[in-house]
Amino acid sequence: MPRPMWTGSLSFGLVNVPVQVVGATRDLDVRFHQVRRAKEEGGTPERIEMKRVAEDGKEVPWSKIGKGWELEDGSMLVLTQKDLDAAAPAKTKTIDIESFVPLDDIDPIMFDHPYWLLPAGEGEGAARAYSLLLEVMKEAGQVGIGRIVMRAKEQLVALREQDGLLSLTTMKFAEDLRDPMDTGAIPEGDASKPSQREIDDAVSLIEEMTEDWEPTQYEDRHRERLLKLIEQKRKEGTVDLPELEDEPKPQKAPADLMAALEESLAKARGAKKSAKS
């Protein structure tokens, strides 16, 4: 089981429930370690170690690392995690549910990272209070909005009942979202304005390509390819480098775009028909 990232209490009105926060994701990345290439063919590569080194060349263990803040006079102020915890003591140790809102009203762009919220502590009372929250959240069908301070950072959180447990999803603050128009790359004006016929065709194509959302059908193919080529290198000593395909050309003329839409639509309809028969 993953280790708790945070322990404290969840507070709902005046009810305080001791809880721990554990990650709801696991890292399945293929992990390499770094080595120094051998000087001559057939030599043994040397393993690399990453070390934290201070200006005087001495290695510093993780436990002796502090958080530095450069003051205006150029000197370095050192803060510890304990100091940071004390910045907002109530927030560091408590998730306060401030309000309840419908889940569907939250734009997915706000969501950040999912966690599970588990009951902590030994007491039977704590488990009972947890069960109560679970039950009531399930019935309400709404998510509780609160805040958490984790890793010296405050985040909004959405709490809800999920698969018989309370889940917590961190969220961004609205002020941390950028406006797409600031990219300067969102097309506008009459020159690129789509016609109703194009839009209708695109909508039909979207409808033809619509399926049920089945998340388990998607696997990380990159991971599979990576493991396969590691195996190839082990057995054969070489790796096949793929030939890069050209990027597809955009349909620059409106007539070409229309043709591409209709061609895709015909293909999608054909595929659906053949799947049915």
Binding site: R52, D83, S192, T210, L226, P248
Partner: protein, 298 residues
């Protein structure tokens, strides 16, 4: 000035190809610290050192090793890049789904898509069609040597792309270890807690929430720089045996303050026995006092 894109490539939808640029949709304003040695504030740098020689090793001398269990395999960076496949510059929209069917746990990092040269017209066709249909496109592409499952949908009048977690990377409750939740809460408790939820129910207005911790950290930096002593944080007392009383006191407190405006709300139908004094954010000790008061009335 236009923002800098982090990736350029082509988005395909059927045989329609749209040259696009990718931009981050978020901008964290968290206060970031430098890594220093706690004892004297000396700046820390991360060094790559040979485990035996102790030599500092340059990036270009590096290879990557993987322990297969049947021996260690060493690969160059180019060989690892071979796993990116033959079409690393393509975002291929494979299908469309109903947006509301996607559970929020799948959503990860958000990006804005802009049109690149020659893509303006098709970009707008796709954007308008997505807005009209309310569907979300599902596709994949390679970003930073990682395959990303992505959801494509309109975000604030532009095409937005949000990376999604693969289902096998999510931890299920059965993978977790926690005390059994056999003690079911009483009906009355559930009813009271339900009422409290109702009282706290509101509209979702993300702009109403600001990061206040950032200011607290700035204050802390000031205090520490001035040589003030920092007191450690304390934990709240858990509600153990007085669950009913805490609920009762919460309802009474909530009936006096609205969560959003702080103004008084409609009074509850049942007249409160004894009103606890103080604001909504009462301490556990005050809650206990209120609980004791409630008991006296029974």
């Amino acid at each position: 000035m236009a923002a800098r894109s982090i990736w350029n490539g082509t988005l395909t939808f059927g045989t329609v190809a749209i040259p696009v640029k990718l931009f981050s949709a978020t901008d964290s304003k968290t206060i970031s610290f430098k890594e220093v040695r706690e004892s004297d504030g000396a700046r820390i740098s991360h060094k790559r050192l040979g485990a035996e020689s102790g030599d500092e090793v340059e990036f270009k001398e590096l290879d990557k090793a993987y322990d297969t269990g049947k021996g260690v395999v060493v690969l160059t960076k180019d060989e690892i890049a071979a796993a990116d496949g033959s079409r690393p510059k393509l975002i291929e929209i494979e299908s469309f789904v109903k947006g509301e069917a996607i559970d929020p746990v799948f959503y990860d990092k958000a990006y804005h898509l802009g049109a690149n040269k020659g893509g303006d017209h098709a970009y707008r066709v796709l954007l308008a069609a997505l807005e009209q249909s309310g569907r979300v496109g599902i596709g994949r592409f390679m970003l930073r040597s990682r395959e990303q499952l992505v959801a494509l949908r309109p975000i604030q009048g532009a095409l937005g792309l949000q990376t999604m977690r693969f289902a096998d990377s999510l931890v299920a409750p059965s993978d977790l270890d926690f005390p059994e939740l056999t003690k079911k809460p009483g009906e009355k408790e559930v009813a009271m807690a339900g009422k409290l939820v109702e009282m706290l129910a509101g509209e979702w207005t993300p702009e109403a929430y600001e990061d206040t911790y950032r200011d607290a950290v700035r204050e802390l930096i000031k205090a520490k720089a001035a040589g003030e002593e920092i007191k450690p944080a304390e934990e709240k007392e858990a509600t153990e045996d007085n669950l009913m009383a805490a609920l009762q006191a919460s309802l009474e407190a909530a009936s006096k303050t609205s969560p959003s405006t702080g103004e008084s709300r409609a009074t509850p139908k049942r007249p409160p026995t004894k009103k606890p004094t103080g604001p909504k954010k009462t301490t556990a000790a005050q809650a206990k006092a209120a609980a004791a008061a409630a008991k006296e009335d029974e």
